[in-house]
Amino acid sequence: MKARVTVTLKTGILDPQGKAIEGALRSLGIEGVASVRQGKVFDVEVETTDRTRAQSLLEQACDKLLANTVVENYRVELI
């Protein structure tokens, strides 16, 4: 089974990389971008076909490694 894990910064956490990208878009003349926050996407293949088990295994992976929950949120999507 395939899954996608998205890790994003929590609201209020300063994201200087996002700010720099925002500035670069503006300098390229791309109008209308209000703000940019940078995150990470992990495409994961899991061996199980059991959705509940896949969900819990990926949440464990996020809590233990993929996200630092002090500053990041994560979302697991089973595809």
Binding site: I13, L14, P16, Q17, A20, K64, L65, N68, V70, V71
Partner: protein, 233 residues
């Protein structure tokens, strides 16, 4: 004092800290590969050195914090053993849960590599006893991700429990204007609850010789020797 310096793939200051320990204590520390499952018997002090362990992949310190030797390091810290995390080692200690919070990208995006003044916040710990309280010391900094970040509750606890070890300051000891990375309350280093784990972004191990910039960093290692040498006797 029996010290062990952990070597991760991508560490690059292990030689500097080993030299500082040898110069001050008279004994060379053991260099321990991150894939080991145990520390040398009788280890008093574990050092997580600076560098770019695992190329800072995922988040700085994240993968190193999950390497095999870290279980032994956490057990050592749990027993009250001393753990010193310098720069990337501070990031690793935070990722391993030995210290609260996380080191984020410097607020102005630049990697900063220069000399920096620090204010020693307290001198009643194993790491700072030869300094004076609020002494200003000059050490080196070299990091891109030193912006200490935590939740409000953690900040409040760190301040209430007097666990900020060092703050960035100017030559006169004034905080606020001299912050190189945007860290809250000018935090440059923090202690664990029992004061046995210290994490800091600056590099005291590079300031041990007057030929290369000064000797203000030596005090940290002298303090540790003072604390730990009697244990060995």
């Amino acid at each position: 004092m029996k010290a062990a310096v952990i070597l991760f793939p991508g560490s690059n200051r292990e030689g500097d800290v080993a030299r500082a320990i040898r110069q001050v204590s008279g004994h060379a520390p053991a260099i321990v590969w991150h894939g080991e499952h145990a520390l040398p018997a009788g280890t008093d002090l574990v050092v997580l050195p600076g560098g770019f362990a695992y190329g800072d992949y995922l988040r700085c310190g994240a993968i190193a914090a999950r390497s095999p030797v870290m279980d032994a390091v956490c057990t050592h810290a749990g027993r009250g053993g001393f753990v010193l995390g310098i720069c990337n080692g501070f990031q690793i200690a935070c990722e391993a849960g030995l210290l609260p919070g996380v080191l984020m990208r410097n607020s102005k995006m630049h990697f900063v590599c220069r000399m920096q003044y620090l204010r020693v916040e307290r001198n009643d710990t194993a790491y700072t006893s030869v300094y004076a309280r609020h002494q200003v010391i000059k050490v080196a900094i070299a990091h891109g991700e030193g912006n200490y970040t935590a939740d409000d509750e953690t900040y409040a606890r760190l301040e209430a429990e007097d666990r900020v070890a060092f703050r960035y300051c100017d030559a006169q000891g004034h905080v606020g204007e001299a912050n190189p990375n945007g860290s809250a309350s000018d935090i440059a280093g923090i202690y664990s609850e029992k004061l046995n784990v210290l994490g800091l972004m600056p590099h005291p191990e590079n300031l041990i010789d007057s030929l290369v910039g000064g000797t203000d960093g030596r005090g940290m290692f002298q303090s540790l020797v003072k604390e730990l040498a009697p244990l060995a006797a």
